[in-house]
Amino acid sequence: MSFKRVVVTGLGSITPIGNTVAEMWQNLLAGVSGAGPISHFDHSKHKVHFACEVKNFNPADHFEKKEIRKLDPSVQFARVAARECLADSGIDFDSVDKSNIGVIIASGIGGLAAFEDEVGYYYASEDRIPKFNPYFIPKVLGNIASGHVSIEFGLKGPNFGVVSACASSANAIGTAYDMIRIGRANAMVVGGTEAAITPGSIGGFSVMRALSTNNNEPETASRPFSGSRDGFVMGEGAGCLLLEELEHAVKRGAKIYAELVGYAASSDAYHITATHPDGDGAYMVMLNALNDAGLKPTDVDYINAHGTSTPIGDLSEIKAIRKVFGEHAFNLNISSTKSMTGHLLGAAGALESVISIKSMENNIVPPTIHHREDDIDLNIDYRMNFTFNTPQKRKIDVVMSNSFGFGGQNACLVFKRYAE
């Protein structure tokens, strides 16, 4: 059986540095940081006071009033990004078979704000009578964004969620890719969404010491691969792509952004949150994704790194890159756009796939901003090109996007410039 080819024909995103792909892309090239003081809740007693929040997002601009309170912010982000993606794709749902188009919108945590609110009311009540809102459970479920998108557009193909913490939407894209190439669907609306800037999430991630506590300089706190990095900065938002079987896309005259040519998933099988110190799982997932793509390491022009700005995580990813790419590690561009967007957890893989594809479209590598000082750890070899502080022009024909999640779960995607 020969696999079908899969192409990307639509992009959408809502992010801390722009509520559309076009706005985000401009801000990525301008090196804009999305970080600032948390506005979503009273954080005065938290250890971390900043995050990368989505800005100027008014739900009433996108949804009917009665609908808003039924949708966790994570679902609102997903639906807005999906609308942008599908409008961008130009797909006319009246002229395609919607029973063969599916949806996988992943979330690392799901409707956390709704969960905290509803459970919070219960425990705060004196009588502890369980008076939960009937929309509590449908707001919380991690698969529910996929359901909403299918309802809005009438898409009756495969529909579910994928969960692997910060690798969730990379695994979603990989899973959708597999489904199309073996013929289970003609197209998949795929992406990730997260809205976890909540008291529980900021408190929970900070007690694990995963978050940067650089409260004095929030805008420069996310500084992947720099010596003084001290944790990730929480982001929120959504990314969405339309994956389409090549013939399906060609037949409708779609604009083809890129071809998805490689995917792999792996596990560190090492520790529940810490990455393997030598990046074993990361090494394997990159190698397997290249093999899946039938490409050599030297074919890769740019790696959009996982690079969350944690001391251990960045180090092990770099070790893995060095091991996979050998001397070519010094030739390719690497950057972590989380320096600007923050870490969108389960939405990161989809957002960074969108960014990777925009990079290839424009032949520009967005930078890793906020680099000041090198790490004294010699394993971070600064002969590697981390695209520090300013974007770099480069002919990009192959781009790799890495995503690693708690649980030791790794995913890697390889996109290639489309050629007949």
Binding site: E64, K65, K66, E67, K131, N133, P134, Y135, P138
Partner: protein, 80 residues
Amino acid sequence: MSTAEVEEKVKAIIVEKLGVEESEVTLEASFTNDLGADSLDTVELIMEFEKAFGTEIPEDKAEAITTVGEAIEFLTANAK
């Protein structure tokens, strides 16, 4: 509480929760058939009525409340 007061409060809750125009909220209007409520909306409405009127609406009674008029009738008789 007078029937008129109950009616005003009930209609305000329905307008807010179902996002309908006040003119649509007639006494005969059915939550599901006329006002676009689904099963979850109906549960939510009943809970809102309970909160607003400080009363319990037992499940068997709640199932019998399907129109605006039935809600007003029950709540006029049972509001605290």
